[in-house]
Amino acid sequence: MHEASIVRELVALAVRMAPAGSRVLEVHVRVGRLSAVSPAAMQFYFEVMREEGLGSQAVLRVELEPLRGRCPGCARAFALAEPCWTCPACGSTLAFENGDELDLASLVVTDEQRDHDRAEDPRQERRAGARQPPGD
């Protein structure tokens, strides 16, 4: 249930990182297999908390990163979709290069400035209307 606190931080970070005047359409997050964070729980909280500055158009995309490393016993390189602690080939305890990721990788945002220059763009008007913060 710590996903609630994590998503609150995520939304605040996305709001801080988005260029002034733009609207955030997508929030791309990278989660490691050993991070003890549930993508489904993150989605649930995101749909509530995106209203705190991002708006309901914002979508969360969570990418689960495979576990990578090289077996210290048989030197075999691996990329695992599920955690596994011992090497299936030689039985050695595996050491991982990653797994703890909990990163805001990127944002997809509207190009407000460029859109503004293109006054004939019919989408401009719609976007300008939607730019109002929710509740206003």
Partner: protein
């Protein structure tokens, strides 16, 4: 039109930054900070009581207690005349670095060798939040079963010590102690393992001895 902006920042970067501030502050004061994490009811507070008694006269201790509700744990520690600050999280399932920062400010400024930070009882959520401790010890009681390191690997991976507590219950349980250690070492081969009972006092001296070594390492040659 839309565009992709690369951010590449840790979501909990702010917490990590505060944890680094905490570490700087406890280093400045020359204190060793020991985090205790576990599921609720594994005996963290009982272990602390025994540890504080074992360290009496050998190290100057203080405690930061984290709980969702009540100051019952802080009362138990205060009864031993050890400085203690209670953090009540009011529902939050883990301690965060900013809570520990506030608690540190309320502890005596000097004359401490070690501060214990007892996290909220939870085997999952505390793993995402660095607090600035030098070492983390995960407590696992025998009645919880031997497979918890495999089911909840994150906390076992980031801890330096594993305290297998309530070892006195072994005759009453179907619990394979060797299997529990093997599972824990699969997840984290570097774990220092202690077997303790807070009822009989078994293993407390060896755990306290390990802590004293860490305290000496921190103090350096004085």
């Amino acid at each position: 039109m839309s565009s992709v902006i690369t951010i590449e920042q840790k979501i909990l970067g702010k917490n990590a930054e505060l944890a680094r501030d905490n570490r700087r502050e406890i280093d400045r004061r020359g204190i060793l900070a020991v985090g205790l994490v576990s599921a609720p009811g594994s005996g963290k507070t009982a272990l602390l009581e025994q540890t504080l008694a074992a360290l009496r006269g050998r190290a100057r201790c203080a405690v930061i207690e984290g709980d969702v509700q009540t100051d019952r744990d802080a009362q138990r520690i205060a009864a031993l005349e050890v400085p203690v600050v209670q953090i009540v999280t009011n529902g939050t399932c883990h301690l965060e670095a900013r809570m520990v920062q506030e608690a540190l400010a309320r502890l005596p400024g000097t004359d401490l060798d070690v501060v214990f930070v007892e996290n909220v009882g939870n085997l999952v959520c505390p793993s995402s939040y660095e607090l600035g401790e030098h070492v983390r010890a995960v407590v696992l009681s025998t009645a919880e079963g031997e497979d918890k390191p495999l089911k909840y690997p994150a906390l076992f991976r980031q801890s330096q010590a594993l305290v297998l507590n309530k070892i006195d219950l072994l005759p009453y349980l179907r619990y394979d102690l060797a299997q529990a250690k093997a599972f824990a070492r699969q997840v984290n081969p570097a774990l220092e393992v202690f077997e303790t009972s807070c009822t009989t006092g078994h293993g407390i001296q060896s755990w306290a001895g390990w802590l004293l070594e860490k305290i000496r390492d921190r103090r350096g040659p004085r």
